[in-house]
Amino acid sequence: MSERDDHELRVSKIQDGTVIDHIAGGHASDVLAILGIDSGTDEVVSVGMNVPSNRLGHKDVVKIEGRELSQNEVDVISLIAPAASINIIREYGVAEKNRVERPDVVEGVLSCPNHDCISTDGEPVASRFAVLDDGVRCAYCETLVREDLADHIDV
């Protein structure tokens, strides 16, 4: 089955919003966590899990109606789902199609796991992490986070 068929068969078209495709199988829940989507969310969200994919074997797909992702959100998704592509949909068509790129810095979405870090102390600054080859590092206290990035998402 081609990937094009996946879209048409499994996920209905949305008018405006974002489709995050080619998330590695099993990581849709991490992406939802980054976007702050949980049972209390108002947005219409559809999730495809373990969809057969030529490129990834199995992939997850997330569609959110009425919301275009911010650059910060895209940046953090890139850390957890480096193969993802992000399609911004306007009036039922793909207005922008972007492969995510690992940024040098992510701001505001992750929170520092070090409880002694100034960024967790109620100061008027957003968290900021430098992106390394194999993880991220707090720009304030320099703590390294390599595993389980999704556990440190702050939304």
Partner: protein, 325 residues
């Protein structure tokens, strides 16, 4: 002189920056600056944690340059206890002063504070993070007593996990290609983030749990205190701390010229009988805080005079690094 006008971590200081500060400190010791050199300049002291000696040595330094210190006082009488953010506190005090010194219990505090002020900010310790002016005086002491800084073999012993002086020092020594031996109990080894940086910087480091494994190679032995609160119970603390303690008999097994240093205060990790040996340089090290901090302030205030970090340094009266040919 420095690439940026804040002094936050030893990592940010280049080898040339460090040498500039140490050279100026040596010049100040030989030939004290005129009292009017920075007359009227004010140094804001923001200590959110007590540290009498660091505070006093900064105060002595600015006064030797003809300036004065403004002390925000103990934290229990300041706005911080009323819930004011650190960002707001430093923004207000930066309006009163030509440079700020900050000590704060949270890691990364100085980095954050520097984002909110235009005057030079010096980190005087941020939690278990960095303490770069201590590092500069440590390096100065090594340079004066161990025949220079190049190619040294240095042992660093004690609490390597939480000891901020250790982290700053290790970064700086890496810039001088030192061989570094870290001696500590397993539970107090270097934290992962520091080890990561040292490897990235190509540092030559080895870790040991026993001083005797390296003692006879060392040109410098830097001892730090192992704190009681790092251990779950008194017995375990006593047992571990006892293994990382030196006395005059220990130093008989060291090289004759091995320099013993300690950031002070010590408790019992260096026995008093070491004080009388030629190895002991920790009191001299403590005294070096003043010339080194004087030199650093002198350079930072010079930079501020010449236009706050602009490229032209025509007012400088020496050949400091970064000056245009």
């Amino acid at each position: 002189m420095l690439d940026r006008n804040h002094v936050i971590t030893a990592k940010d200081l280049s080898r040339a920056d460090i040498e500039t500060v140490l050279d100026r400190a040596a010049a100040i010791e030989r030939d004290p600056p005129e009292r009017e050199r920075h007359a009227g300049r004010l140094l804001g002291l923001c200590f959110f944690e007590p540290s009498t000696r660091t505070r006093m040595s900064f105060e002595a330094a600015i006064k030797r340059l003809g300036g004065d210190a403004l002390d925000m006082g103990p934290v229990d009488s300041s706005s911080a206890t009323k819930g004011e953010s650190l960002a707001d506190t430093v923004r207000v005090i930066a309006g009163y002063a030509d440079a700020l010194v900050l000590r704060h219990p949270s890691e990364g505090a100085a980095t954050m504070a520097s984002e909110f002020v235009d005057v030079p900010l010096l980190n005087a310790g941020d939690g278990a993070g960095q303490h770069p002016t201590q590092t500069l005086l440590d390096l100065y002491t090594m340079r004066e007593n161990a025949g220079g800084l190049s190619d040294l073999t240095v042992g660093i012993m004690g609490d390597l996990k939480y000891g901020r002086t250790v982290h700053s020092l290790a970064y700086a020594l890496t810039k001088f290609d030192a061989r570094q031996h870290f001696v500590s109990p397993e539970s107090l080894r270097l934290p992962r983030s520091v080890r990561y940086d040292l490897h990235e910087a190509g540092a030559r480091i080895r870790e040991h749990d026993d001083l005797d494994a390296v003692l006879d190679e060392l040109e410098v032995l830097y001892v730090t205190r192992i704190q009681r609160e790092r251990f779950p119970d008194e017995n375990e603390y006593r047992q571990v701390a006892g293994e990382y303690r030196i006395d005059a008999a220990t130093m008989e097994r060291a090289r004759e010229e091995c320099v013993v240093m300690h950031p002070l205060p010590r408790v019992d990790e260096i026995a008093p009988d070491v004080d009388a040996t030629p190895h002991a340089k920790y009191f001299e090290q403590a005294h070096n805080g003043v010339p080194v901090r004087t030199a650093l302030l002198d350079l930072l205030l010079d930079d501020a005079d010449s236009g706050g970090g602009e490229e032209t340094v025509d007012a400088a009266d020496d050949g400091e690094d970064g000056r245009k040919p």
